[in-house]
């Protein structure tokens, strides 16, 4: 069961209409290292984790990533909602507009749709947790690229929050990996 809460995890601030920045940020909605991929990856890997703490971490981080997906969507929505057709064309968002108007859709910055092959669910907890650690670092790197691309300090503030969370999640996954290793060592009988 999931319960929706009618609030964002972190406030969004958008200084002005900016379809160019929306086109870049949308990759964290539906791109390879985005929040949809992150949440679905963790929420589907959790079923076969061998210890309860790992099930908790994947459930809770997967849930927080859903909240991050909502923050990214809210940024994109507000960056393009006031854009004119001329502004959309000038930003190179006209290809997207032809298929989606100003609706939110899961694509990367180049317009390629989200695919399940962005993620893996291997059943081997060591392999899965290493993938999760890498995913957090890739998401952190993407947020750093987006911060470099951003010309709106208000949007940058929210991107910084999202970047920081990837760092914290990496830390928690590292601890979870250690706990799984300890559990495996305790099970070894020679």
């Amino acid at each position: 069961m999931w319960i929706y809460e009618k609030k964002l995890e972190y406030p969004i601030r958008v200084s002005y209409t900016n379809p160019r920045l929306a086109k870049e940020i949308i990759t964290q909605y539906g791109g390879p290292d985005g929040e949809l991929a992150a949440s679905l990856r963790y929420l589907t890997q959790r079923y076969t984790m061998p210890i309860s703490q790992a099930k908790a971490v994947l459930t809770d981080i997967g849930t927080e990533e859903l909240a991050h997906m909502e923050i990214v969507a809210s940024l994109v929505y507000n960056l393009i909602k006031g854009a004119t057709i001329d502004e959309i064309k000038a930003a190179g968002l006209d290809d997207y507009y032809a298929d989606h108007d100003k609706a939110l859709y899961f694509v990367n910055a180049a317009g390629a749709p989200w695919v399940a092959s962005y993620i893996q669910s291997k059943g081997d907890p060591i392999a899965d947790l290493h993938e999760d650690l890498a995913a957090e670092e890739k998401a952190r790197a993407t947020y750093e690229f987006l911060i470099r691309l951003s010309d709106d300090p208000d949007v940058t503030d929210t991107l910084r929050f999202l970047r920081e969370r990837e760092v914290v999640h990496f830390q928690r996954f590292g601890e979870t990996l250690n706990l799984v290793h300890e559990w495996m060592d305790s099970k070894k009988v020679f």
Binding site: I3, Y4, E5, K6, K7, L8, E9, Y10, P11, I12, R13, V14, S15, Q53, A56, V57, D60, I61, E64, E70, A73, S74, Y77, N78, P153, D154, V168, H169, R172, E175, T176, L179
Partner: protein
């Protein structure tokens, strides 16, 4: 900034603390100080949410909070329709 936004920011602050402590406790369930902080934050968050919901309608549905008078869940604004200004 209006009162509603101020109240919402306070809830965001408290709930963020709860989320972060929650993740920490998942891998450190025996850390008593973090647990005490989590419980204190949870209590303050619950109070802040109850006060907010009595003014502006439910933050949660599916039985997690009651709606007085009318079904206020359907009222705007939705979360993506609330933006803040710099410095808020």
């Amino acid at each position: 900034m209006d009162q509603r936004r101020r109240d919402l920011l306070r809830i965001m602050e408290l709930e963020f603390a709860a989320v972060d402590l929650n993740l920490f406790l998942d891998t450190h369930p025996d850390e008593q100080r973090a647990l005490a902080d989590y419980n204190a934050v949870s209590q303050e968050l619950m109070r802040a949410k109850m006060a907010y919901e009595s003014r502006y309608g439910p933050l949660m549905n599916y039985g997690y909070s009651m709606s007085e008078g009318t079904w206020r869940w359907v009222e705007e604004p939705w979360p993506w329709e609330i933006t803040f200004n710099r410095g808020e």
